[in-house]
């Protein structure tokens, strides 16, 4: 176990048409995205962590405590686990006001509250909703109350099951900033189930890729997304996530420079102040490679890089090339013909041309 490993989970769920079989170590802080297509077992895994799945056998250690050990007949029921759970649909109690919904869990916690209700209400911006009944709230407001309700119990582990999936894009964008604040201000591990690459790229620090009830890859978001050996299902949208700092604004051309370890990119003017952290995504398909620094091109983002690995892509026509840009990994998706044409091999220095930078904010 790594030093910051807090959750050790080994689960088996065997249903007639689905089997979950995983053995995982999850970090004790930060957001871990459980990512996969529908039917990959991510929600089942989350329910096993919560103790909601009664057919789940295995082992679960949380920060030194045993929550489940089927061999020894140990199973701590859900209501005795210090966790918060946010369901896909908000699941507020319809017979209770927002305030009473918030109080429901909070008043049942015996130990001292590490999180004050005022802070939670402020964090999620729901102070003006406290007296309302759930049926008088919008979908986004309901989900914010549901998140606040789970946080109000001062959980030691927060489990979120696609909390944005039931919402339209507008509501999603309304909640995402709150989730980012949550990630930055909470000191507890968060497991976040999602099938949206954008949500994962924006929120996660760690990622667990699931397919057909098994763990395909797990690790830090940056390193894991830069891997070339992921199953093809995950390589269609292959790309890396880079954490950068707003370095300078060019008011004349209305551009912003973002610095990251090993390089920088220029994007259209951002509203964020200098020094702010920003995440962006570079899709492999938006990266092209040249052996010499291209002159006379309209592409402004050119990064000096070294080839570290070349692997097959999702189609026979393409290959994925993993690059190292001064410590930051990058992936390019180019044709097999181009690979042979350029004689690409590990260790080769070249230039990566970035056609598009997708900012995640």
């Amino acid at each position: 176990m790594t030093p910051d490993a807090a959750i050790r989970a080994r689960f088996q769920v065997i249903w007639p048409r689905f089997t979950l079989d995983i053995d995982l170590t999850l970090p004790g802080r930060g957001v871990t995205a459980l990512f996969g297509h529908s039917g990959s077992g991510k929600t089942t895994l989350l329910r096993c962590l919560a103790g909601l799945e009664r057919h789940c056998v295995g082992l679960l250690h949380f920060k030194g405590e045993i929550w489940q050990d089927s061999e020894r007949g140990i199973f701590r029921p859900t209501h005795q686990r210090p966790l918060g759970y946010v369901f896909q649909e908000a699941s507020l109690f319809p017979h209770l006001s927002v305030q009473k919904n918030l109080d429901y869990g909070r008043t049942r916690v015996n130990h001292a509250h590490k999180v004050s209700l005022e802070d939670v209400v402020e964090l999620l911006g729901i102070a003006h909703l406290l007296d309302r009944m759930p049926d008088r709230l919008s979908g986004g407001e309901r989900q914010r109350v549901a998140i606040a309700r789970s946080l109000a119990t001062s959980p030691e582990l927060l489990l979120m099951d696609e909390p944005l999936a039931a919402l339209d894009l507008k509501r999603k964008n309304e909640i995402l900033p709150y989730l980012e604040r949550l990630r930055d201000e909470l000191d507890i591990p968060v497991c976040y189930v999602s099938h949206s690459p954008d949500e994962v790229a924006r929120l996660a620090d760690h990622i667990v890729l699931l397919a057909e009830g098994r763990v395909v890859a797990a690790g830090g978001l940056r390193e894991t997304l830069a891997r070339l050996d992921l199953p093809t299902a995950f390589t269609e949208d292959a790309g890396v996530v880079i954490e950068a700092v707003v370095a300078s604004h060019d008011e004349a051309y209305h551009l912003t420079r973002l610095d990251f370890p090993g390089g920088s990119v220029v994007v259209a003017r951002r509203p964020e102040a200098i020094g702010r952290q920003l995440r962006f995504r570079i899709y492999a398909r938006d990266v092209s490679l040249t052996l010499t620094r291209a002159e006379g091109t309209s592409i402004i983002n050119l990064l000096s890089a070294t080839v570290t690995e070349v692997a097959d892509a999702d189609t026979p026509a393409h290959v994925l090339v993993q690059l190292d840009v001064g410590g930051t990994p990058l992936i390019a998706r180019i044709t097999r013909r181009s690979r042979d044409h350029l004689h690409l091999a590990p260790g080769q220095p070249l230039w990566a041309q970035i056609k598009a930078v997708a900012l995640l904010a």
Binding site: H79, Y85, L92, F93, G105, S150, T153
Partner: protein, 224 residues
């Protein structure tokens, strides 16, 4: 307009229906909960047994209850052994019979209400530290309130309307087992149509008003 005998019958009927409804809510709730949540293979069997009084002639139910509660029946011997004597032709016997007779009218609305709630609210409650009993009282009962109201009304009115079982198990003893429906029968037998009209009309009006209230109620609040 109402004689003392009529008034006694009305009072006895209300007493019977109230006690029966109270017992049914206590007995019916766990049965309905079990039926709504179980995956046991005995679910069909228990459900069918509970529903039997819906289709059986009351005389059949009354007949078997009479035998079971009677001096040679197992329950009868047990009650004698306990020293409380025999239940047939007593008010207590009437209550026991009414509970069986009206059981489906209480269990089924409750079962429907519990099924409509589904497992999710209980899971939510569990993640908010509420144990099973706690969440039953703070989440299930409030959410199933319309079901409880329906169950109580149907149990109460159905007990008031019973006749066959009363005759079989209770007989016709003034102030003990002579309820309104039996009293109406007596009036008609004695050709006292005016007196029968008062009681029958009253029962008709009562039943209609109760059902009117029941069916005019707004729908169950939807789970968010």
């Amino acid at each position: 307009m109402l004689s003392a005998v009529d008034l006694a019958a009305i009072w006895l009927t209300i007493k019977l229906a109230t006690i029966t409804t109270a017992i049914l809510l206590i007995v019916g709730t766990p049965i309905a909960w079990w039926l709504a949540r179980t995956r046991s293979r005995f679910k069909g069997l228990i459900g069918a047994i509970v529903a039997l009084p819906l289709v059986l002639p009351p005389t059949v139910l009354g007949f078997y209850l009479l035998i079971t509660l009677g001096p040679h029946g197992p329950v009868g011997q047990f009650t004698q052994w306990l020293g409380i004597g025999l239940l047939p032709f007593t008010f207590a016997g009437l209550v026991v019979a009414s509970v069986f007779y009206s059981l489906p009218f209480v269990v089924q609305p409750l079962q429907l209400a519990f099924e409509a709630i589904g497992p999710r609210p209980l899971e939510v409650a569990a993640t908010l530290r509420a144990g099973p009993w706690n969440s039953f009282f703070t989440v299930v009962i409030p959410l199933a309130k319309p079901g409880f109201i329906t169950a109580a009304i149907l149990g109460f009115t159905h007990t008031i309307g019973e006749f066959g079982v009363v005759l079989m198990i209770g007989g016709n003893i003034p102030e003990k087992t002579r309820v309104v429906s039996v009293q109406i029968y007596d009036h008609v037998e004695a050709l006292e149509y005016a007196e029968a009209h008062v009681l029958a009309g009253g029962l008709l009006l009562f039943s209609f008003l109760v059902l009117l209230a029941l069916y005019s109620r707004k729908g169950t609040r939807v789970w968010q």
